[in-house]
Subunit: 211 residues, 2 copies
DNA sequence: TTATAAAATCTAGCAACGCTATATTTGATG
DNA sequence: CATCAAATATAGCGTTGCTAGATTTTATAA
């Protein structure tokens, strides 16, 4: 059979098409969620957006929740990159402040994306080995920030992450007024930098049990 | 008419019955949510639990979300009381640690309740005047904790609350392992107490813009 | 080039959801 | 006991996530 000649090209095209459509679905879900909320991201609506019938979606994702999980992972990837960028080129002041501000900026500029990233504890695999690399990468940015700090680097990373997440969530759900956000960041950074001196950058045990 | 005689008793009985049924609904919602998750708290299921048809539920609450809001408010009330208790009789160490531990204990022991308390930003009125008193009372426990502290008491309260909320959420959604929770609290308390000295308990401006 | 097998896609429908218009029953009042 | 209102139930609408089965499209062969 002359399969390996033309058939390969066909298979590649089909793969490309499939990947493109998958990206379309994720993109549509994100856009609708950001504009109209996640409750408007229905399977029917998505199938309309990509001009295919509903069952096609289930060839790409196991369920509606699978689509949200894919969006969430994309979000973690982008968050990780944003944090890395903020950490590496420390604009003004220290890296802690830079990362903290970048985190809250991310959460504020894509509230629906941020929301879905933390509302799917069961779908997005977690814990040790099965945690998606995008999640590990994002959290590693916090680890780098406090690396080698009095053997508490991991707890400090967790606490800084938790603090920022708390601020982001309480702001998103309107419990914190957006005003005074800068003051919050400044004070938070003070807490995390003044209490524990800037450490030398050696020894990073990295026994993170979390991510 | 001899209404004011027997009719009053009847009206009172009806009111009692109505309140009792309302409490039943809230209680059933809480129980099901804690045992089977909020997705299993359906109107049909609730109407089964209280042995009434569905429309009866709508005589008590405007919608399903109204029921969740009632549960959330009950949760805030209990949280506020738990925090007040922890703050007043400082078991060991300082009040900050006591309140922090009590907060996380509350969140861990009733995860579904805690979840609904922070997933209804739009239904539970917020912001300044319209915020339910149960919410204000709970947050006031944090304000008391840092009251009069270098004119930053409000921001510190917000940050401490946000940190605890972040820990609670990341723990609930399995991003933080439950192990090491004590160490987290200890370190967090260090950050909030060592960085800023215990202040004298005078002057509490109380210009809280949040709650 | 056309028949056939397989892959891709759609139609149509199920069960369950929140919610409500309407019918029915219950209970207080004369 | 009759009447009228209040309380409650029945039955159904529109929408949801999801899927079995029919149908079309596409690739491979004669």
């Amino acid at each position: 059979m002359a399969t390996t000649l033309a058939a390969n090209r066909i298979a590649e095209r089909k793969l490309r098409d499939k990947q493109a459509r998958r990206a379309q679905i994720i993109s549509a879900a994100r856009r609708i969620a950001e504009l109209e909320g996640w409750s408007n991201v229905t399977v029917r609506r998505l199938s309309d957006e990509i001009s295919y019938s509903q069952p096609v979606l289930y060839a790409h994702f196991e369920s509606r929740e699978g689509i949200l999980a894919a969006v969430a992972i994309e979000g973690f990837q982008e968050l990780g990159l944003a944090l890395e960028k903020a950490r590496k080129r420390v604009k003004r002041g220290n890296a802690v402040e830079s990362v903290g501000a970048a985190y809250l900026e991310f959460a504020a500029s894509s509230p629906a994306l941020y929301e879905v990233m933390f509302s799917l504890s069961l779908s997005v695999p977690f814990g040790e080995a099965a945690t998606p690399p995008e999640l590990r990468f994002a959290f590693s940015q916090f680890l780098e920030l406090f690396q080698g700090q009095s053997s508490k680097s991991e707890v400090l990373s967790e606490l800084f992450w938790a603090s920022l997440h708390g601020i982001a969530e309480l702001t998103r759900t309107k419990r914190f007024p957006r005003i005074r956000q800068k003051e919050r960041v400044r004070t938070l950074v003070e807490l995390f930098t003044s209490a524990l001196p800037p450490a030398s950058s050696t020894m990073f045990p990295r026994t993170s049990a979390l991510v």
